[in-house]
Amino acid sequence: MSATGTCEYQPKDYKSDLKPIWCPGCGDFSVVQGIYRALAAIGRPPHEIAFVSGIGCSSRIPGYTTAYGFNSVHGRALPIAQGIKMANPELTVLAAGGDGDGFSIGGGHIAHLIRRNMDITYIVMDNQIYGLTKGQLSPTSQKGRVTCTSRFGSLEEPVNPLLYVLAYGAGFVAQASPTDLVGMAATIEEAIRYPGFAFVNIQSPCVTYGEEAQQIKGLKAISETLASLGHNPADRLAAMDLAQHYGEKLHLGVFYRNPEPPPTYGDLVKERQALLSKDAPPKERILDLFIKK
């Protein structure tokens, strides 16, 4: 309790007793720290937060928080998170997972949450690899990447997660990395506060299967904050321009924040319900509609 009598949450309040089984050094350790800090800054009690993930190393993350968590099915974090948000709109809903979870098997879901402007924050821990299944190519792996499933180098161009969500019209798009922990926590906080679908791509190194250039030192060498470039996050086209450098440059911060967020799907449903319920009979008489006189 603070001196003013209001409850104040500390990052530790969001840390569960479960010990992460990630490889020591994994970038996901920094992401969970960033989430603890962002949640503490927002200050909602853990039981008012639902955290859904898919399957992958990164998808273990809800279990390491004290929020309600669901380490669900590969690629299905978003539809489940959407169901939770619609069933209980008062909850703060987070979804998280890996680049494989989000952009391979789950790639088809993103567009629909964006077009509905579901009030959900989606955090992708992008390590350009399938970590959990021991180092296969992922949709964000660079062309030429040698892995156990691409012995002679990948033949495919990577998906650009930033352009992907910007093109579908996401209202909040940002990127973070453990090279800037303060920035990461601030970005996650801002994403959660955005009233609508918010996407944060986090370059989170896989120390076991990742390449040298994708480790902290390599990331530091190519990182640059968008603020230092004078980028205006209200400018969607400028954001798309900058997002094209995904893979060569690591731009950190908010690419795009819609200055006039449209209503969320939840708001529209509430409005529709209010409209239709005006002439509806009282609940206790609903059954009468089905009973023939």
């Binding site: 104040e8 500390q10 010990k19 089984i21 490889c23 020591p24 050094g25 959990l132 926590a185 190194p205």
Partner: protein, 174 residues
């Protein structure tokens, strides 16, 4: 290592002490996490050293807390743990499965060097004389901590020549 939202120029002695306690807490928690990671990855020697560091940080934290209580009682705290990022805590990526005790000690030494650099860098911004004196004291203590880790390092037998690369860590299947 970084901070968020701290106004060093106007830091009061109470805030400075609270900050120093938070810095010790954060380091203690990180060493506890590292020790747990080493347990999980069957690296008992490194775990043992990280637990030694937990004790060191806890001891220093208790001393600072006693001082804070003596000077300011239980007056509310206005700095928060969300304002500091790995000031004395070793970087989250400083741990590796199967790290040798030497590597564990080198990671701890690097954090003591980092903490020392933090107090050195913060000093010019401080205006309050008592706060300056506290930060100077903390800066010197970080040098002492470095010395303690160096003593532990000197006790180690030579390395076996094996590195982490000689081991493969297996993430759990799902």
């Amino acid at each position: 290592m970084a901070t968020r939202g701290i106004d060093f120029a106007n830091l009061s002695l109470k805030d400075a002490l609270d900050l120093a306690i938070l810095i010790e807490d954060e380091a203690q928690e990180r060493y506890e996490d590292f020790a747990a990671q080493m347990d999980q990855h069957r690296t008992p020697e490194a775990a043992k050293f990280f637990r030694y560091m937990v004790e060191n940080e806890a001891k220093h934290g208790r001393e600072l807390t006693a001082r804070r209580l003596q000077l300011f009682g239980d007056a509310p705290r206005s700095v928060t743990p969300a304002m500091i990022f790995d000031v004395e805590a070793p970087d989250f990526d400083a741990a590796r499965a199967f790290m040798t005790p030497r590597k564990a000690m080198e990671a701890a030494l690097a954090s003591e060097v980092k903490a020392h650099a933090f107090f050195v860098a913060a000093l010019p911004a401080l205006k309050d004389v008592q706060v300056r004196a506290l930060f100077e004291e903390l800066r010197e203590e970080e040098l002492e901590h470095q010395h303690l880790v160096q003593i532990e390092l000197a006790k180690l037998p030579p390395e076996s020549g094996l590195s982490e690369e000689d081991f493969v860590d297996e993430p759990a299947p799902q």
